[in-house]
Symmetry: C2
Subunit: 453 residues, 2 copies
């Protein structure tokens, strides 16, 4: 068991700076921990006797029971003495949520944390950390009414920006995409992105690691660890702070020097890490990588009930170096129940009047066709002939073991069904270009697997 495990599986949590005022961070964290965490909770606040029916304590030392994890939410100036108290009481791990440190105060804290680590086993995350989120511990201060919590899934997320991580989690929840663990590091004075990466690499529940980083001081370790991890699960990273001014902004934000983006890109490639070029790509690729099998080769099939979308999908296919092989004769034969005016070729446009039955015929044919390794399925649900049953038809295609990504474009009606597919682990995108890109990234990962075998 590594010293990181305790962050995710504590048996007791002390909340230093717990508050009874709704809207305050010390209240929101307590409320969310209480709702999610089944172990012992010790709110620390010398001014009140209870918060949300939990007895409060004056200080860490007054608890007199072992504390696995302490969350510090106090004023920046008080953090140092809070930390000292934690070391005296054998707290195993600390997350410092507090922010608003002056440069001077941050330098002092940095020194203190490094000194603590010389003589104590206590591990420390933060400061400026948004903390953790997983199925058994939600310590985010962002209210549930404003930021939806996702169902349990296979993507885990390490982020140097709490805001980016949290809002992407919100976005994921809205679309029905599952998240496993969320880690917002803040300043990584002690616990850093490498240790978290290693932890998630060994975590059986995590199938895809997504990261947002602005800089790292541990480039070599990142490459070393990634090379091992990517044999078991893909790593996808969005590196920010690329532009000159971006570098300055990133520096102000994370108090680290930011190296050039090209060096990072080269390092990522060397390590078998998939680099996302934008927030959109990070999000869109992660949900495909976490839920779909690899794409064996560049031969794919496109199925659509809308000609124009098919054309756009083919454009993207060509752009990304994917190919659209001809259907096997057997496949064409299996499509004979599809009206004769529809040409039985790849891309397969089954017409604006397509039904769920026609989708089923087409999907079954394409899934059995050995010349096709993966499918982009475009389904415009707005046409009056297409029954809701098409969702089950698409869902069942998962059983064939070939990767599939879906394009559905629209508002309420369409999104309701897209969410249902996402819950079954089939990634849905609002444009054909994104659906093709999400299939292509599964080939990219396959190539990485082969390279690092």
């Amino acid at each position: 068991m590594s010293s990181i495990d305790i962050f995710f599986e504590p048996e007791s949590i002390a909340i230093i700076g717990a508050s009874r005022v709704p809207g305050e961070i010390g209240y929101e964290i307590l409320k969310n921990v209480k709702r999610s965490f089944k172990g012992q909770i010790y709110p620390i606040n010398p001014e009140v006797t209870e918060i949300e029916n939990l007895t409060t304590y004056n200080s860490i030392s007054s608890i007199e029971k072992p504390i696995d994890l302490a969350i510090i939410i106090t004023n920046a100036k008080e953090v140092s003495s809070n930390l000292t108290e934690c070391t005296k009481n054998d707290v195993k791990a600390v997350i410092i949520v507090s922010s608003g440190f002056s440069d001077k105060l941050l330098t002092k804290l940095d020194e203190q944390i490094k000194n603590i680590r010389k003589s104590h086993k206590m591990r420390i995350m933060g400061p400026n950390s948004l903390g953790l989120y997983c199925n058994t511990l939600d310590m985010l201060y962002l209210p549930k009414e404003r930021l939806k919590r996702p169902e349990e899934g296979y993507i885990s997320f390490i982020t140097q920006s709490g805001a980016i991580g949290a809002t992407l989690m919100d976005l994921a929840s809205g679309e029905g995409i599952g998240i496993n663990k969320f880690i917002a590091l803040g300043n990584n004075i002690d616990v850093n992105e490498i240790e978290m990466l290693e932890y998630l690499g060994n975590d059986m529940q995590t199938r895809c690691i997504a990261m947002y980083i602005e800089s790292t001081q541990h480039g070599k370790e990142l490459i070393e660890h990634a090379k091992k991890i990517i044999k078991n699960k893909p790593i996808i990273i969005l590196k920010a702070g690329k532009g000159e001014r971006g570098a300055i902004a990133a520096e102000a934000h994370s108090h680290h020097h930011v190296s050039l983006s090209k060096i990072y890109s080269a390092a990522f490639e060397q390590a078998g890490i998939i680099e996302a070029k934008s927030t959109d790509e990070l999000f869109n690729y992660a949900k495909s990588l976490a839920n779909q099998p690899i794409l064996k080769n560049n031969k794919i099939g496109i199925l659509t009930n809308a000609g124009g979308f098919g054309v756009l999908a083919v454009d993207e296919t060509v752009k990304l170096g994917l190919e659209l092989p001809e259907f096997a004769k057997e496949t064409i034969r299996s499509l004979k129940l599809i009206p004769s005016h529809i040409s039985k070729e790849n891309p397969l446009d089954i017409g604006g009047d397509a039904t769920a039955d026609r989708y089923q015929l087409a999907l079954n044919g394409m899934l059995r066709d050995k010349s096709i390794s993966g499918i982009v399925c475009i389904a415009l649900l707005q046409t009056p002939t297409l029954e809701e049953r098409v969702i089950n038809v698409i869902r069942e295609s998962k059983l064939h073991g070939k990767p599939i990504t879906v394009c559905m474009t629209g508002s309420d009606y369409t999104k309701k069904f897209a969410t249902r597919l996402e819950k079954y682990g089939i990634p849905v995108y609002s444009t054909p270009e994104k659906a093709v890109g999400a299939l292509h990234v599964l080939l990219k990962y396959n190539k990485i697997l082969k390279k690092f075998k």
Copy 2:
């Protein structure tokens, strides 16, 4: 008055092939026309006496009153005789929705339409046309329950793919984005994209023309007309059928030869047309171009309550050649009420605990700063300290006449407020990169205006 006007302002509409069976195109169109259109409606169906409380007619000739517009929804084989009947009864305009034509049948129809046009004033859209949508006439067959209808806005859309147009309209409706006119041409044997472009160019209600095309046989006219129109309103085009296979798919879909994408790109530039590289860009740029003033120069300001998002926005700013000038001294002075640990520089990160008041101070300062021509405003609404009032604060910034684009990322809670801003004409994006791109396109249009002055 051009011969195109009658499509949008008919006083009477005949629906040839009206049906009383819900789910059938002939029923869905009738239902939507009846709901939206205030003039006279003549359903034509010799087998029933009424549909949805409207008296039906046996044929066009049995109506004995002038007919401005006829919509043909019959079987492909019947379309030819329907057309002939329309010419005999002085119908002014026809939209052929019917599809499923064999190559042979299409060639014959092509000939017939060209012959009709030699001797008649009757204008003909289609076949394979999804028809029109505007505030006073909704003739789409896609049910309202599946495809939301947008509020009236400033974007008008010409599309060679009905599906792409319709689903983007659905997407727009879901986000609160207004649409003015929607035209799905189908095969453009008579009425073509150039005439529609000219019509929208003269249409006072249209402020931005968005187009999806797979090919045009009228390249020179497109350039000529566009050059004039873009002096008054921007034109943005997504050209599909780029890849070799894309060209084949586009050909199969629209029965036209597809030229090379590079020739198109060069022509678009020559004509002052903004080219969208993806469905996403078409959508994201159009809502900015239709609702925001131009960006005078490349000097912008970034405001955020989330450091990481600020870094990503700066990256995109640098990538697109935009600049982040220093704030004027006066601006810095005006920000003195913002806590001292926040550095008063561009990009301005007002902290994770920012309130609506802090946004107001910052926005007012930046909007008055003469060194800044436009603003990207990032607002993460999930933080407990940020009040809903921030929406009004952002809305009021419109009064200053500087362009503004907004980034808000999240699910239900965030989207509710994003929709509200869209209704006020402030475009909202789910990633900082898109918000910066949407501001940048306003500079692009400004450069076009200068070039074609």
